[in-house]
């Protein structure tokens, strides 16, 4: 079809002893985690365990009370401070709520960062939008408004928005929450396809075990503010860790 896609720049994540409390209530209590360049790490955890909190620290929307997170050689705070043009790689986040701008069309949402930072011409932007929407199977929806889309479509537009800036690191917060099993499978396949195509580093937060099985190179389990189990995607489903076993049993995937 088109020329082979350029591979993503390698990005590693090192989460070192990260603590975070709200109103004196600790949510993260010393999280340690390594994410390898180009891999897909799945973070599993029950509702309210602090998965979204952890991922917000990694993208730099919030700062940990204690500990540090490094993206390659720089801390997240240093990375965030750099202006867009000087950033050595691109990091994007796909939000739990999709977080599309409701007043903009699909195409405008997908191209928002490119337009605001003037990093491509009008023609180039049109091409990028078309290509990214094709990748998420939403070709032809350019002029629709987010309110006209289903939850699954919105999620895929949010993924297209991350693809449009050629992200080297993509964080997904519950990409399949509120999706039916078929759509879940679709989004899983999409994340896998992104992986095969450009090999960005991906972190996927979910409590959906079939999805984890589909996409994970590694799985980390977050519980009571710590990573209690960390294994390769295949090993995870045979984990002997009591909490992981419980989780697997409850989800009836073993």
């Amino acid at each position: 079809m088109s020329e082979p896609p350029q591979l993503a720049k390698p990005v590693t994540i090192a989460v070192r002893d990260v603590w975070k409390s709200y109103d004196g209530q600790p949510v993260l209590r010393g999280v340690r985690l390594e994410v390898l360049a180009g891999e897909t790490l799945v973070i599993i955890g029950g509702s309210g365990e602090g998965k979204s909190v952890l991922i917000r620290q990694i993208i730099g929307l919030e700062t940990p009370d204690h500990g540090e997170i490094r993206l390659n050689d720089s801390t997240v705070a240093e990375y965030r401070r750099l202006p867009m043009e000087e950033k050595p790689f691109r990091a994007s986040m796909v939000f739990q709520t999709s977080a599309l701008l409701n007043s903009l069309t699909v195409a405008e949402n997908v191209s928002l960062a490119l337009r605001e930072h003037r990093s491509a011409t009008r023609e180039e932007i049109r091409g990028i939008v078309r290509e990214c929407l094709e990748q998420v199977d939403l070709a032809g929806t350019e002029d629709k408004m987010p309110a006209e889309l289903s939850g699954g479509m919105r999620k895929r537009v949010a993924i297209a928005r991350a693809l449009a800036v050629r992200s080297d690191l993509i964080l997904y917060d519950e990409p399949t929450a509120e999706l039916d099993p078929l759509l879940t499978e679709e989004v899983g396949a999409l994340i896998r396809r992104i992986q095969d195509r450009r090999r960005p580093t991906q972190v996927v937060v979910t409590h959906n075990l079939p999805l984890a099985r589909e996409i994970a190179d590694h799985v980390a389990v977050l519980r009571h503010g710590e990573i209690v189990d960390y294994r390769t995607g295949d090993d995870f489903f045979h984990s002997e860790h009591p909490h992981t076993r419980n989780f697997l049993r409850a989800a009836r995937v073993v």
């Binding site: 917000r56 993208i59 730099g60 929307l61 202006p83 867009m84 950033k87 990091a91 994007s92 986040m93 939000f95 739990q96 709520t97 977080a99 599309l100 701008l101 409701n102 007043s103 928002l112 960062a113 605001e116 930072h117 800036v165």
Partner: protein, 279 residues
Amino acid sequence: MAQATDSARSSLRAPPGVVAALGRGTLDVLQIVGECVSLLAATVWHCRSAGRHLPKIVTQLLLVGSETLGIAALVSLFVGMVMVVQAADQLANYTQEVLGSLVGLAMTKELGPVIMGFIVAGKSGSAVAAEIGSMKVYEEISALRTMDIDPVPFLSMPRFLAMTLALPMLVLYSDVIGILGGTLVVALDPTISISVSQFLDNLTEWLNLTDVLVGLVKGLVFGMLVSIVACTFGFRTSGGAEGVARATTSAVVWSFVAIIIADFVIVRVAFLFFPATPK
């Protein structure tokens, strides 16, 4: 004995809940004022890049216009009319010849700016607080930040410039329509003894440019206040749809209070520079 003094002392104290709530309320107010001031500073700073965001500013300006022009005309017309009816009654045993200057001065210096400020706060300010508030609770603002898009030039600056430019224009519009309303009553109400030309002569004789300018300056300041208050409450929204509703109401109430306080300050300062002119 000790018990008796204890209970005597405690009866002198205000119930502990009230003091704590008062303290907390004061801190909240200071916090919000601080947030408004820092957002104002950041927004003004980003007005440098207004040229790049021109389409957004124009869109906002048109939006403010479409939200307010109709209601502004209606309210101004009736304010002008009621003023003449009331004043004519008061002046019936005195002289109705001053009606023109009365309506002209009241409209341009006070009522035009304040009423337009209230209307912009109620229509556009509330809409902006609701819009930014829901962007906040649905993580759209967070999404902007992950894309390195600063919400201040992206959201706050165009709304700030639009309302700040729109309000003085609305004040002029309101002045004209209010005076028109007054003129209509003078022309049609049989209990008013002066003629339309007497009314307008008196008005033009007394109304000078500084009066109109003071009104426009008020509009400018009210526009800044309303937009910054609306954006501040939008950005500090939390707690889902209910939080958005709370932010919207607070933005309108705070705008009203800010307008009235600023009105007083501007009038006081204006009298320092332009002392009341004896005529």
